[in-house]
C-alpha cells in the first residue's frame, strides 16, 4: 500500500485533505455548503473541455472552477444566492455535457474524474498540487481575520472597514483553487464531502475558531487516509469512502454535541477576533 | 400577586391562564402565571426583554406546552383552540421574492389551514377588501408582503388575524418598530376592535405608556412572574418591587409612568452588559 506508485496518492491526498479542511471550515461557517458542492461539479465541465482542447486537465479544471465560483458571486449579488448557485452549476454542467458529446472520452476516465481514483495521480501532478495547496492555505491565512469577521458578523466587519463583498469574492477564488486541485484523487462529486463533514465535526468539539480550523484539517486528513487505504484494499472508489465518512463525521459531531447538551455553536469569533487584536468601538 | 378573588373574569372568562409555569433548558421561564381576560377586555402584557412575554404568548397559542398549569380559551383546552385566537407575530418572512400580495396573506387568514385551492369567489374578495379597509391597508393591498414596510406589514398581519373573527387577539410587540403616529393609529384601531367586536385583546410591549389610553388591565411580567389587575392596582412600588425582587420606584410624570430600578439585583433578567441604572421607557 505504501509502495512506489502509491506515494503520489498519499502525498497528494494529504495536501488535498488539509486544504479541504481549512477551506471547508469557512464554508461551513458561512453556510455555503451548496457552493462547495457546486464549484467542483462545474469544474468537472472544465476537465471535459480541457480534454477536448487537448490542454492540461488541471488548467481546464481551474478555469472552470474560477468561472463557476465568480459566476456564483456575480449572480448571487443580483438575485437569490441559492438560485444563483444552482444556475451557475447547471450551466457549467450543460457545457460539460456538450464537450463530452464532442469528445470520445472513455467512460472510466469520466468515472475517475467524478468519483475519484486512487491511482489517478501521476508524478508530474504532485508538484503543481503541492504549490496550489500552499497557495490556498496561505491565502486563507492572509484572509483569516476579515474572513472570520465578515462570516460571523458582517455588519461589524463593515464598520471596521472590511468589505464583505470583496472578501467573499476572494474567498470564492480560493474555493475555486482548492477544488481544482482536489479533483484527481477524490473526484468532483465527493470532494465537497471532505469540505463539510470534518469541519462540522470539528465545530461540535470546540467553538474556538483557530483550534476548530486545525481540528477540521486534521480530521479531513484522517478521513482521506482511511479512504485511500480502504479504496486500495477493496478497489472500490475513493469517493464512496469519503462520502460515507463525511456523513459519519457529521453524525458524530451532532451526536457529541447532543451528548454535551448543546448544539454546535458558532465559533466565539468575537473572542477569537479579539485574541487576534481586533478591537471594537461598538457595543455588540 | 395573584388576581384578587371577586375580580371580574376570575372564572369563565374568555382567556383563563391558571398557574402556568414553564421550564426550558433548566431555566424557569414562566413562574406560576395566572390571569384572566373577559370578552372585549384590552390587556397589556408589559415587561422588558427576557421577562417571558413571548413565551407566555406561545403557551397561550398552543405552540408550547406548559410544564404546569392550564390555559383555557372560552373554556376549551389547548389543542382545540385554532380558530378562536388571532395572532399577530412581531415579524414574518421578509423575502422580497415571495409571490404573495398583502391581500393574499389576508385571504389566508380566512382559510389558511384548509386543504385544497381556494376558488375565486366574490364573497371572499369582498371580505378581504373590507378587512383591508378597516386597517387602512387598501393602498398597498396588491404589493408583495416582502416589500412592505414594518408598519404596513403590521396592519396586514392584523387584518389577517381579524378576518376570521377571533374571540381573542394576541399581538407580540406590535409597537416595537413603529413611529409615534403609527403607534397611536394601531393602538386606536385595536381599542376600537376590542370594543366593537367584543374581542379580548392581549398585546405585549415593553413600554406601557402608549397603551394607557385603551388598556383595561395590565399583566406585568418580570423574570417569568406576573402580576395582573388594573394599572392602578399593579403599577405600584410595593407590587413591582415584589415582582422584581428588588426595590423599584414608580414615577408619574404628566400622564406617563416610569418604572425605575436603582441598581441591578437578583431576579432581574437583564443583558449582562447593562451597567447603568435600568430604566423602563416612558420618559
Amino acid at each position: 500500500m505504501f509502495s512506489g506508485f502509491m506515494t503520489n496518492a498519499w502525498l497528494v491526498g494529504t495536501f488535498v485533505a488539509i486544504v479541504a479542511g481549512v477551506v471547508g471550515f469557512f464554508i461551513v461557517l458561512r453556510g455555503q455548503a451548496f457552493v462547495a458542492d457546486a464549484v467542483p461539479q462545474g469544474a468537472f465541465a472544465g476537465a471535459a473541455g480541457a480534454s477536448l482542447l487537448g490542454i492540461n486537465t488541471l488548467i481546464g479544471v481551474a478555469a472552470a472552477a474560477l468561472v463557476g465560483a465568480l459566476g456564483i458571486g456575480w449572480l448571487g449579488r443580483r438575485g437569490r444566492r441559492d438560485v444563483a448557485t444552482a444556475l451557475a452549476l447547471v450551466v457549467l454542467l450543460g457545457l460539460g455535457a456538450l464537450f463530452l458529446s464532442f469528445s470520445t472520452e472513455y467512460a472510466p476516465e469520466i468515472y475517475a474524474l467524478l468519483f475519484g481514483e486512487v491511482l489517478g495521480v501521476s508524478a508530474n501532478e504532485v508538484l503543481p498540487i503541492a504549490v496550489l495547496s500552499v497557495a490556498s492555505v496561505a491565502a486563507i491565512a492572509a484572509l483569516y481575520r476579515p474572513l472570520l469577521l465578515s462570516s460571523v458578523m458582517p455588519e461589524l466587519a463593515e464598520a471596521r472597514g472590511v468589505r464583505p463583498a470583496r472578501v467573499e469574492t476572494l474567498f470564492l477564488v480560493v474555493v475555486a483553487l482548492a477544488t481544482s486541485m482536489t479533483l484527481p484523487v477524490v473526484g468532483a462529486l465527493l470532494i465537497f464531502s471532505l469540505m463539510i463533514g470534518p469541519p462540522a465535526a470539528a465545530r461540535s468539539v470546540t467553538s474556538k475558531p483557530l483550534p476548530a480550523l486545525a481540528l477540521s484539517a486534521v480530521i479531513a486528513v484522517v478521513v482521506l487516509w482511511i479512504s485511500i487505504a480502504s479504496a486500495y484494499q477493496t478497489n472500490w472508489p475513493v469517493g464512496f469512502f469519503v462520502g460515507a465518512l463525511g456523513a459519519v463525521c457529521y453524525a458524530a459531531g451532532r451526536g457529541y454535541a447532543a451528548l454535551r447538551g448543546r448544539r454546535p455553536a458558532r465559533p466565539r469569533a468575537w473572542r477569537g477576533a479579539a485574541e487576534q487584536g481586533v478591537t471594537a468601538n461598538v457595543r455588540v | 400577586m395573584k388576581r384578587r378573588p371577586g375580580e371580574p373574569g376570575t372564572s369563565g372568562g374568555l382567556l383563563d391562564v391558571d398557574g402556568v409555569s414553564l421550564w426550558l433548558s433548566g431555566r424557569k421561564v414562566l413562574d406560576d402565571v395566572s390571569f384572566s381576560l373577559a370578552p372585549g377586555e384590552f390587556a397589556g402584557l408589559i415587561g422588558s426583554n427576557g421577562a417571558g412575554k413571548t413565551t407566555l404568548l406561545r403557551v397561550i397559542l398552543g405552540l408550547q406546552a406548559p410544564s404546569a398549569g392550564t390555559v383555557r380559551v372560552a373554556g376549551q383546552p389547548r389543542t382545540r383552540r385554532g380558530s378562536l385566537i388571532g395572532y399577530v407575530p412581531q415579524k414574518i418572512l421578509l423575502d422580497p421574492d415571495m409571490p404573495l400580495r398583502a391581500r393574499d396573506l389576508v385571504g389566508l387568514g380566512l382559510d389558511g389551514q384548509r386543504l385544497g385551492i381556494p376558488l375565486p369567489s366574490a364573497r371572499r374578495r369582498s371580505q378581504i377588501d373590507e378587512m383591508l379597509q378597516a386597517v387602512d391597508a387598501t393602498r398597498f393591498a396588491d404589493t408583495r408582503v416582502g416589500l412592505l414596510s414594518g408598519g404596513e406589514q403590521q396592519r396586514v398581519l392584523i387584518a389577517h388575524a381579524l378576518i376570521s373573527r377571533p374571540r381573542l387577539l394576541l399581538l407580540d410587540e406590535p409597537l416595537a418598530n413603529l413611529d409615534i403616529a403609527s403607534e397611536q393609529d394601531v393602538v386606536e384601531l385595536l381599542g376600537r376592535v376590542a370594543r366593537e367586536q367584543q374581542v379580548a385583546v392581549l398585546i405585549s410591549a415593553h413600554d406601557m405608556n402608549p397603551l394607557l389610553p385603551v388598556m383595561d388591565r395590565i399583566v406585568y411580567m418580570a423574570a417569568g412572574r406576573a402580576a395582573s389587575g388594573t394599572t392602578a392596582e399593579v403599577v405600584r412600588p410595593e407590587v413591582l418591587s415584589d415582582l422584581y425582587g428588588q426595590h423599584v420606584d414608580v414615577i408619574r410624570v404628566h400622564n406617563r409612568i416610569l418604572v425605575v430600578a436603582a441598581q441591578r439585583g437578583e431576579g432581574l433578567d437583564v443583558p449582562a452588559s447593562e451597567p447603568e441604572p435600568m430604566v423602563h421607557e416612558g420618559a
Partner: protein, 286 residues
C-alpha cells in the same frame, strides 16, 4: 423558412414525440413544485435529491428492479431522511443537505462501480448522470404522468397550509397546521418531481428545471398561482425549444450525432433568468 427552423422529420419522429411528451410533463411538474422549493430555500435540497435518486437508479441495475422505482423510491426515502435530520429548520440546513447528498453520492459511486464490474455496462455512468431525453422509452410514459400528477396533487391539496407555513410558520401552527408534516409532504413532492426528471432527462436538467423557471416565475408575478403558472410555462417552453434545437443540431458540426438536449435547455433557462432579472430590476428601480 419553416424548414430551416424545423428540420425534416421533426414532427413525425417518434422519439421526438416521446421526448416532447416526457420532457413536457416533467417540465410542468418541476416548474410547479420548484416554485415552492425555491421560496422555501430548498433549492439545494432539490438538487441533492436529484443526485441521490441517481443512487437509486444505479442500485436498480443491481437488484433488477425497474429504474423508475429505483429513482423514485430512493428519492422519496432520502426526502424522509432529510426531514428527520432537520432540514426544515433554516439553520444548518445546507450542511445537512450536503452531508446526505455526499452519502448518497458515495453509494452511487459504489453501485455504479459494481454495475460496471459485474455486468459490463459501460457508459451507464454518463447515461444516468446526464440522461438523454431522446432515449426515454414510451412504455414508462404512463408511469411518469401518474407520478407527476401525484406530485402536483400533493402541492395542490396542501396549497394554503403550505403557503402560510412558508410565510409565517408560527401563524400556521397557531391555526392548527402541522408545519412539520406539511413541510415533509412538500419535500416528498419535490423528491418525486426531481427523481422523475433525473431519470428522464438527467440530473443537470433536473436541477435546472426545478429552480430556473421557478425563479423566473417569482420575478414575473406577485400572485402565488400566477407565479407557478409562469414557472411551468417557462420550463415547458425551454424544454420544447431545447428538444427542437437538439433535433436540429443533428446536422450541425462537429459530429453527426447532435448536441445534447441538456445543453440547450439549460442555456435557454439561464438566458431567460438573466433576462428577466435584468428587465425586472430596471422596472423596480424605475
Amino acid at each position: 423558412m419553416l424548414r430551416a427552423v424545423f428540420e425534416p422529420g421533426f414532427f413525425s419522429s417518434s422519439p421526438v414525440h416521446v421526448a416532447l411528451a416526457a420532457g413536457g410533463v416533467v417540465a410542468l411538474v418541476s416548474g410547479i413544485v420548484g416554485s415552492f422549493a425555491v421560496v422555501r430555500g430548498q433549492s439545494y435540497a432539490g438538487h441533492a435529491l436529484a443526485d441521490i435518486s441517481v443512487t437509486g437508479g444505479s442500485a436498480s441495475f443491481l437488484v433488477g428492479v425497474s429504474p423508475l422505482w429505483g429513482f423514485v423510491g430512493v428519492g422519496v426515502l432520502a426526502a424522509g431522511v432529510m426531514d428527520m435530520i432537520g432540514i426544515q429548520r433554516p439553520r444548518g440546513r445546507d450542511l445537512a443537505t450536503g452531508v446526505v447528498r455526499g452519502a448518497g453520492l458515495g453509494l452511487a459511486a459504489l453501485f455504479l462501480y459494481w454495475d460496471t464490474t459485474h455486468s459490463n455496462v459501460t457508459g451507464a455512468t454518463i447515461t444516468i448522470l446526464f440522461g438523454s431525453l431522446f432515449t426515454v422509452s414510451s412504455t414508462i410514459l404512463p408511469a411518469i404522468v401518474a407520478l407527476s400528477v401525484a406530485a402536483v396533487a400533493i402541492v395542490a391539496v396542501l396549497y394554503r397550509p403550505l403557503l402560510l407555513s412558508t410565510v409565517a410558520a408560527d401563524l400556521a401552527a397557531a391555526r392548527g397546521v402541522s408545519v412539520r408534516l406539511v413541510g415533509l409532504a412538500c419535500l416528498v413532492a419535490i423528491a418525486l418531481a426531481v427523481s422523475l426528471s433525473a431519470m428522464t432527462i438527467g440530473t443537470i436538467l433536473s436541477t435546472a428545471l426545478l429552480i430556473g423557471p421557478a425563479a423566473i416565475g417569482l420575478r414575473l408575478s406577485r400572485r402565488p398561482g400566477l407565479a407557478m403558472a409562469w414557472s411551468a410555462l417557462a420550463g415547458l417552453a425551454a424544454t420544447w425549444l431545447g428538444v427542437l434545437l437538439a433535433y436540429d443540431s443533428f446536422y450541425w458540426p462537429p459530429s453527426r450525432h447532435g448536441w445534447p438536449v441538456s445543453f440547450f435547455v439549460v442555456t435557454l433557462i439561464f438566458l431567460g433568468y438573466v433576462a428577466v432579472q435584468t428587465i425586472t430590476s430596471r422596472v423596480r428601480r424605475a
